[in-house]
Structure formats: structure tokens, C-alpha cells
Symmetry: C2
Subunit: 404 residues, 2 copies
């Protein structure tokens, strides 16, 4: 069998599991009789154009790579042009030919799948076409055509754990207080659902949960806080960064866009700070907003074992797709039927997911319904199951894999 080289790259935002997928690709490629050299492109497609690759053929620190958060190969935010006559396509083709690439695997989210889609379309019918395969990753869990995305389970585990700790922290004073926790998610509330797990599992908090899928009504939010304050002193709200009002405008965007400090400088803040100000003015109690920020996507120390193992499996599955000459498709995780959680890999046409999003189903936005809460738990809990191996020294410092 003639061996061809495999090129792997990462793109989009980081997660705690995207390197597990990279490790899965490397492990499977090292065992494959069809793969010659394994090349890692630095900073996504940019490294292909700029000739910045690392040779991973003999890379051996797979376990540590699996546990390293963010992207060991680096990322990019690069959109290929729609016009295939743009010279960039021939540049890429020339580079891949020089590198003797027969398999090109690209790990990323919705936007990155656009690159996979365009490259496979560009190569269609060309004799030197490599197999172009997409491997999913996004903490947002908003890719269509799959059960869930690699990276989501780890972010979800971190958020559930952190919100439970924040609930403990906010409970200590007898005085009324409101704590607003701002969670990532511009268009989908999957991460905020994970932050709501302490309540979904049967607790009373977080008291309020606001998802982008449901129009946000400031007056209803304030009234809900007032009502709940009759029964509890420490209100905790988990709020997606992308909540919108009934007109579709991001909550607080009108106030933010013109905000200036005394020197006339624009202020920069998210919906959490906006709601903090709103509650402070309208209710007047102690209010605090917390933006969980990058920690929710890079907290490898709290990664889900299930997530890391599935992310690894997705990488290995992508290699088997490429070996079989599959192109223009993305690997996905699907859930098996049955009581006990099991998953398997499959693939979907890249056009089913490139540039597309999957919101939380409308039915799952009604957390007052205990049956809905059970359904969400049944969906979510298996994804955050198990603590990942840490590869840390006694001081908590991890043995991360870093490609310079």
C-alpha cells in the first residue's frame, strides 16, 4: 500500500478536549499502514500557507497531550474565500502536494467546518484530491447533526462544579444578595444549562436561568428576583452572554454601545455587568456579577473523562474515514439507544453542519417542568462523567504539551 502523509490542524476557539482529538488522530495515524508522516500545521490553515508544520510522526506524549487544554498546535480565525478561482486555493494545493498530503484533517467548530467544506468542494474531481475530513469541537455544543460536541462535557463539568461552589460562597451572609453568573454562549444556551445542573438535579439553585433561546424580559427578571427573595436570601442567576430581548437585540447592548467613563472612553462589559447595574438600581440589594470567562473553556483540571475519551475516539475515527477516502464529511458522536449511556462515532455531510447552529430545543427551555429537568439531566450527566487523569505534580502543575 502506498503511504501518504497526514496533515492535521486545529482552528477556532480552544477547549479542554481539542487536544484529546489531536491525540486520537496521532495515535490512529501512527498505527495506520496507509499513513506515512504525520504533520501538524501550526495555527490552522495559516500554517499550511506559511509552511509552519511540526512533525508528529514519532510523537509519544499522547496521554499528556490528551490532558493539555487549549490548542497545542495553535489556532486561527481564517475564512477561505467563496471564489475557488482565488489564488489561495492553488497555493494550498501546491503546499499539500509538496508535503505529499493524502489526508487532511481539520479540528474545529461551525466556522472551521466551512474551511473543510470549501476545500473538499475545491478538490472535487481533481486527481490529487486529499481526503478532507472535519473533526468537531466546540464547548458551545451547537453543532447540528450530532448528539453533542467534543469539548462540551468538560466545560459543562467545570461550570456545574463552579456554580455549586459559588452557591456555597453566596450562601454565607444572612443579608439579601443577588449573584449573576455570566456564561459563554452567544446563540445557544447549552453551557448555561450545564451551569443550572445543581438545580436540574433537584436543588433550589441557581434560582434563575436565562438562555438565548428565550426572549429576555427585564421586568419579569426583576419580578422573579423579588418573588424568590421572599423565600431565600441569596439569589443566584445563571445567564447566557447572548440573551436577547423580544426585538432580538442583545440585552444591555443599547446601554453599552454609548457608555463612556469620565474621560469619554468607551466602557467594555457584558450582560452580567449590565444586569448587575439593573438589579442594583431597581432592587437595591447587594449585587455581584461574575463572568466565568476563559476559565470555562480552558479548565483542563476539571475536564470530563467521558469527554476526553470521546474526543480521542473522534480523532481516531477521523483517520479511519480519511483512510477510506471519505472527503467532505465531519465525524460526529451519536448516542446509542438504551438505558445505559453509550456512544459511537459516525459521520455526516459537512454541509449539514458548516456555518449552521443548533439551539437548545424549545421544550428544554422550560425548567419549571420537572419532567424537562429529568430529560436534561439524562442528556447531560453522562457527558460530564468521570474525572480526567491530571498528569500534575504535587503542586498542581501539569505536564502540558507545548509545540513552539
Amino acid at each position: 500500500m502506498e503511504k501518504k502523509n497526514l496533515l492535521i490542524a486545529q482552528s477556532g476557539g480552544p477547549s479542554a478536549a481539542i487536544n484529546a482529538t489531536l491525540a486520537g488522530v496521532i495515535a490512529a495515524a501512527q498505527k495506520s499502514p496507509a499513513v506515512g508522516r504525520i504533520l501538524g500545521s501550526r495555527h490552522g490553515i495559516e500554517g499550511v500557507l506559511e509552511n509552519r508544520c511540526v512533525d508528529l510522526t514519532d510523537f509519544s506524549r499522547l496521554d499528556e497531550l490528551k490532558a493539555t487544554p487549549a490548542m497545542a498546535l495553535g489556532s486561527c480565525r481564517f475564512k477561505l474565500p467563496a471564489d475557488f478561482s482565488d489564488p489561495i486555493y492553488e497555493q494550498i494545493r501546491k503546499r499539500l502536494a509538496e508535503l505529499q498530503v493524502g489526508y487532511f484533517l481539520y479540528i474545529g467548530g461551525n466556522d472551521s467546518m466551512d474551511t473543510v467544506s470549501k476545500l473538499s468542494d475545491f478538490y472535487a474531481g481533481k486527481p490529487d484530491a486529499p481526503a478532507v475530513v472535519g473533526l468537531p469541537k466546540t464547548i458551545d455544543n451547537d453543532l447540528p447533526a450530532c448528539d453533542h460536541t467534543p469539548g462540551y462535557g468538560s466545560a459543562a463539568r467545570y461550570l456545574a462544579m463552579t456554580v455549586e461552589e459559588l452557591i456555597r460562597d453566596t450562601a454565607i451572609y444572612a443579608l439579601p444578595s443577588v449573584t449573576i453568573v455570566e456564561i459563554m454562549g452567544r446563540d445557544a444556551g447549552w453551557l448555561t444549562l450545564a451551569a443550572a445542573l445543581p438545580r436540574l438535579r433537584g436543588g433550589s439553585k441557581p434560582d434563575l436561568v436565562a438562555l438565548p433561546e428565550t426572549p429576555f424580559d427585564e421586568q419579569a427578571f426583576l419580578q422573579e428576583i423579588r418573588d424568590r427573595m421572599q423565600h431565600t436570601h441569596n439569589i443566584v442567576a445563571v445567564v447566557s452572554e447572548g440573551i436577547r430581548d423580544s426585538s432580538g437585540a442583545y440585552v444591555g447592548s443599547a446601554a453599552k454601545s454609548g457608555a463612556v467613563d469620565t474621560f469619554g472612553h468607551a466602557y467594555l462589559s457584558g450582560v452580567g455587568k449590565y444586569l448587575e447595574g439593573l438589579v442594583k438600581r431597581e432592587i437595591g440589594c447587594k449585587v455581584r456579577s461574575i463572568e466565568v470567562n476563559l476559565m470555562q473553556r480552558c479548565a483542563g483540571h476539571a475536564a470530563s473523562l467521558t469527554d476526553l475519551e470521546e474526543s480521542f475516539a473522534v480523532g481516531a475515527y477521523g483517520v479511519s474515514m480519511a483512510e477510506q477516502g471519505v472527503s467532505g464529511r465531519m465525524a460526529v458522536i451519536l448516542r446509542d439507544e438504551g438505558e445505559v449511556y453509550r456512544s459511537h462515532c459516525s459521520s455526516v455531510d459537512i454541509r449539514a453542519c458548516a456555518n449552521k447552529e443548533r439551539p437548545v430545543p424549545q421544550r428544554w427551555t422550560n425548567l419549571e417542568d420537572s419532567q424537562v429537568c429529568r430529560e436534561i439531566c439524562d442528556y447531560l450527566l453522562p457527558l460530564i462523567r468521570g474525572a480526567a487523569p491530571q498528569y500534575r505534580d504535587e503542586y498542581g502543575f501539569a505536564d502540558y504539551v507545548i509545540f513552539e
Copy 2:
């Protein structure tokens, strides 16, 4: 031996280790022939005044309590009046007599030690005086007369781990970026030193470290970023919330005080957001600020085993002080001489610490000196050593102790 009852309470801000001290008190008191009932006052001294106590005499979940973050008994922010003729003192005295309290242990920080100091002074010479003992806790590590404070090691471990993950996250793009991480600490930079551990141990990041102990110069900060950008693309700065300019004013306070949004509402944000705006205006690259917020003080999942064990030992030591009739003193952790880290408990006059603070020594603010970095590591690393037991289920949910 006539048994007397022991009253224990918690006050001030939470930490991941303050319940370990509570557990140490309960464990030692349960073994003590001098202690009858063990009473936990809810919400500090307020629970004494309002007759809200829980009976801990037969409490058995000590291991889970040790691993529960924040304050299981609740907290308060209550300052006793300076005038001992204020009726509140006789109210407290009456309550303690009714409860037959012979030992009153109070866990807290600088402000809480003021309560211990005043109560022991009030009781001086009175026949019914209980032993009033202070037990330290503060993530800020700013209590004088000790080597370090219970709670600091856990916050430090969380911060070092989190900043190392943030460094990974910010490294993925090839474009220049500045990430400003705002760390707790109004007056002392101990927590920010912990956040700087990835560099202190020999790494190159965080690139900039700003402590309250050193006057902050905005122009020098910007110049340092520009200089470092010649050699690295992802600048990471760790900054204490309490940094001040040469006049002693909090950095950004002038801008903040008058900031309004388009509706004329005041904006609420810290030094991180202020510096984000400054760098964005003056340098113009991608900038992000991250406030680690409450997570740094309640992240029990990342607690230091050394910290939890020492915090437990401090609690037990406090009981032995009280049994011996010691009053008006605070238990402290001191470091043994010698190469291998060991610590022991001792006690100091409460006046040596009540309302007093301990900044980072001036010598330790110069992180350009590699000898200084080694000294800080020698000081800090033993305090963050060891992962604490988790008492978590397979989904990461902890079996917390909660007194309602």
C-alpha cells in the same frame, strides 16, 4: 473535671479551608474531657445575639466538612462597639452564660480578630469569663505574626493552576494580544504572587505582575507591554485589584467614579476592565480582562491538602488553648527551621493582629531578581502542596456539609 460548653463561629469572607478549621475544632472538642456540648453559632456573633445555634456535639461528617468550601455556619460582617458599656456586651454575656459557654472560638480575618480582642478585653477580670480564642483565616495571607494564613494555600493553588491554563488559552492565536487577570487583594499582593507562580518557577509568563505594594505607573505598564511584544505575541498580566498610583489612589478610580452609560447609570467595574480600556486605546491590539472573582476563594475542588491539614490543625490547637484557659490570643501557623517544610501551631496576642495587615515584603516585589523568585517559591510551593480529597460523585458533585 467540670465540663463547659464550647461555642464556635465563623466570620468575614469565605475560603476553601475555613471549614477545615471548624472540623479541627469539632474533632478536638469531641475528644476533650473539658468540653461538654459543642455549639455552632450561625452567622458569627449575630447568631449568639439572635439565639441561632446548631448542636455539633455528635457531628460526624468531619471529612466532608473539611472539604466543603465557604462557611458551613454562615458569616457576618459585624463590628462590636468600642464602648464596653454598650448594652450589646451584656447581651452577649447573658447569652454565653445561658449556654454555659466556657470556651468561645472565633474563626476569621483581621476584622474578625477585632471581635475576639474586644470580647476578651470586655471579659477581663470577670468571674464568668470564657476563654476567647481567635482562629485565623484569610485567603489574603495578610495577617501579621504568622508564617501564612489558613485558606491562602488553597486560593494560591487554584490561582497558579488557573493562570497556567489561561496562559495556554491565550497562546493559541498568532496575533498580538494582551490578557489582564485581576486577582483579589486590596492591600496585599500575596494572591497575585501565587498567580505569578508559573513565572516564578522559571517560565516566561505571566509577563507582568502588579502588586499593591508597588506604586503603579500606567505609562511604565504600557511601555513594558510594548517592549515584551517584541518577543512574545500573547502578553499575560496578573494584577492585584488594589493597585494604586503614586498618589495612593486606586488605579482607575477617577475614571470609575463618574462613569455612566447612555442612560446615565453608573458603571461598576474593577481595575482589570480599566486597564483593558487603557491598553485598547493606547496600544490597540486585542485585549481581554479576566476577573477571577469569587472562584479564587471558594474553589474547594482545587484546594491544597497542606492548607486543609494545617487549617484543621489550627482548629484543634485553638481548642487546646481554650482548655488551658488562654484568652485574647490567636492561634497561628509558624514554619519550622530546616530544609524540609514543616509547620507547627503557636499563638500570639490578639492585639498583634486585630485590624492589622501584613504586606508582601518590599524585597519580594522585585521579580526581575532570580534570587527573589527562588525565595518566593521556597515560601509558596509548600503551601500549595498536595491535592485535597474530593468527596465527589462520578459527575463531580461534592458531598458538601450544609447547616440550614
